[in-house]
């Protein structure tokens, strides 16, 4: 295990150099050696690909290592040559001799067609996939469909968190903080929502559930989702924005899969409801501040929650009834927001 980890660490140094100004000192021999290194790691990957215990051990051992993202997982062993190739091809500082030798080393020609551990076949597959993406993007008018992009980002975020999870929850939190700080926030929230639903049922949206049909989710997903929830529930600003900006349907699905989230969500909805006041002239409940959630949206969100599987509807009704009781148990509309909400909800649950 130790030598392997050291190799990985050394290789990530190589990758860092390949991208930077120090590549000036490389020659053809250096490039060839670097590629051979990548090939070695690929062999290791293939040898252990089917052995879950060995993989888990490696990833645990890699945990404390503060290496760059993307190289700290078992899966990273497979694509070392592609990463190296891309860095070297686009590095203007690469020494001319090395730069001249590079294309032939990457693409030796028909001789390498049959060798599946050479970079050639995998780089060609990358090229082909890139063209496929360009074509599909063109079909959609230049942008990826929102659902697909969110799903991809959610999967990649999950992979990152799993890598960092070995180093302790602090690293995972740090990553999420960085994402939240740099934004764009709307997108980050969308990705979080998608990530919390990966592998779970009652998915909604334009993609069918990718994972198991049961509500439990895989073990890996549960772990990362745990990390996400922990951060979300501990960041009031993010949580409020999350519950405000995500669509009602999506939040209802999320609430039915994660009890902790459903409690927080219901709490927020209650606090937003409490901020409404009754306008006698208009005959409806209106927000006191311009940024508050309007009546109709509140009603819609509560309705969606009531349409979710039990025990959610019961919890909603309990909250509303509790509020109504505190207010004096009025039956007449206009006196208590809780009464009116209860009246506005269809009695199905």
């Amino acid at each position: 295990m130790e030598p392997l980890v050291q190799h990985l660490e050394r290789f990530s140094d190589v990758l860092a150099v390949a991208r930077g100004a120090q590549a000036r000192s490389w020659d053809a021999v250096t490039v060839r050696r670097a590629l051979q290194w990548a090939r070695y790691l690929l062999h290791v990957y293939r040898r252990f690909a089917g052995r879950a215990a060995a993989r888990a051990a490696l990833e645990r051992r890699l945990g404390p290592w503060a290496g760059p993202p993307g190289l700290r997982s078992f899966a990273a062993l497979e694509s070392g040559d592609a990463r190296l190739a891309l860095r070297l091809l686009s590095n203007r500082a690469l020494a001319p001799a090395a730069a001249r030798a590079l294309p032939r080393l990457l693409f030796p020609g028909p001789a390498a067609d049959g060798e599946d551990d050479a970079p050639q076949p995998r780089l060609l597959l990358l090229a082909r996939r890139g063209s496929a993406l360009r074509l599909l993007l063109r079909l959609g008018g230049g942008d990826a469909p929102a659902g697909a992009l969110l799903r991809t980002h959610a999967e990649l975020l999950g992979a990152r968190l799993r890598e960092l999870g070995g180093a302790g929850a602090a690293a995972a939190r740090g990553l999420l903080e960085a994402l939240w700080a740099r934004g764009p926030r709307g997108h980050v929230l969308g990705v979080l929502g998608e990530a919390l639903l990966l592998g779970r049922c009652s998915h909604g949206g334009d993609l069918e559930p990718a994972g198991a049909a049961d509500c439990a989710g895989g073990a890996e997903e549960t772990e990362t989702q745990g990390l996400l929830l922990h951060w979300l529930l501990g960041s009031p600003e993010a949580l409020a924005a999350f519950c405000r900006r995500l669509p009602a349907d999506r939040l209802a699905s999320l609430a039915s899969c994660h009890p902790a989230l459903s409690r927080a969500y219901l709490g927020l909805l209650a606090s937003w409801a409490a901020q409404l006041r009754y306008d006698l002239r208009e005959g409806s409940w209106v927000p006191t501040q311009p940024g508050d959630m309007p009546w109709e949206e509140l009603r819609l969100r509560l309705q969606r929650l009531c349409q979710a599987p039990p025990p959610l509807p019961e919890e909603v009704l309990e909250t509303l009834r509790g509020g109504k009781a505190l207010d004096g148990d009025f039956e007449v509309p206009g006196m208590s927001v809780w009464t009116d909400l209860l009246l506005a909800l269809p009695r199905g649950a």
Partner: protein, 494 residues
Amino acid sequence: MDSSLCSDLESSGRPSRRDVTILCLEMARDSADLASDYQFWLQKLSVWEQSSTKETQQDTCLHLSRFQEFLKQMYEFLKEMDSNAILERFPTIGQLLAKACWNPLISAYDESQKFIIWCLCCLMNKEPQTPGESQLNSWIRSLLSHILSTIRFNMKEVGLFTEILGYEPVDYYPSLLKNMVLSLVSELRESHLNGLNTQSRMAPERMMSLSQVCVPLVTLPDFEPLVEALLTYHGREPQEVLSPEFFEAVNEAVLSKKMILPASSVVSLWFRHLPSLERATLHLFEKLFSSERHCLREMECCIKESLLPQAACHPAIFRIVDEMFRVVLLETDGAPEVLAALRVFTWCLAEALGRENKQVKFALKTYFPYGAPSLTAVLSQRPDAIPRSHRLQPLLHVSQLLREAVEDHTRGSPRDAFESWFLFAHFGGWVDLAVEQLLRMEADPPEGLLWLLVFYYSPQDGSQQRAQTMVELKALLGRLLTLLRDGQHRCCNP
């Protein structure tokens, strides 16, 4: 250049003059062909990069495999030359390769990106003397870099994820591609289910574009779910919304085994695109009737593998395949391997029909409209299902029905006799049975059996000729049986 080269080699005494001359001529001819092709393709590429309308896309799709062939030839030609020689010969080659790279339909197709990259590598100057040559090298590297990491996203969300999370194309592409394909498949399924709701239905233009985009990509495994979804999507429009190039591309990929699809998707493909069905049948015929002889078992394997028997459970498909068999039989004058193939095919079809447990079973008449119903019904019974001792009667019955069908049409055309014979040829198992019975007979062979055999092997004989042949056959049988008996006798009484 060519003639001086030839004379040099000749004087050195090694390769024969004739060999070298042939080589020089070939090189000259090849490079002349290549030069004119080069101009053609350069022009085509320029036209294609101007616009990406449906027509341009269609034109590109039609030329994809030929352009790849050209790229392959170019590579073979360029690989022996150095950079300066290449530029002298093809000064605009950089332009051609760049245009090919930038055209996603081309770079997505099969192995085209491989040949483009190999040509670019040939173009790299190994020892650049001038700044211009170094410039070229650096340009080639940036083009290679572009080919490998080609997407530019419009949205800054993607930039965020690349920076903070440190993701690269090699991480990104497989996942994004998979999700985009899933998204499209979902869109198709929903569109299918909400047939009457026009708003959620995928517009025909979009489906056409989608099918065109798939043409270069049918052999990429990531695209298989989308190809399947497109093949099994049935819209409400009366005419076909998918591009014919799509069907052709899928068909070719399936026939050359570059892609494996479930049988139901393949059948769907053939239903929607007749030329693909014909191509698949021809492909099977090429395999069956090639120069090497195949035994029946091998034929059965080939035929089953082709999925045509399964598809032929649908009478419409069967009729087309049957028609092609008919044509081949006529053209080859009833060649024995074709007869054998027809027989095996019908047998495989019967087996496939037996396996299907659909509610609606088509009447035999739908498959064989050209035969008399009584005849069809009798012939389609399984001969080996009849116990050995009871086989004579049904055989004679078959013989009688056939004879009536053939000989009563004296007022009809010879074509009717052919139809009956063609029908009979499907069920050649009966002939085997007839031979078996004849070889077991102690007494005189029945007329009916003799007639059956003679009719099968010489359907076009007139009744006089046929009678004569029957007499000869009877005599031959007699001799054969005598020999067999004597031999047996000698074995038993040494």
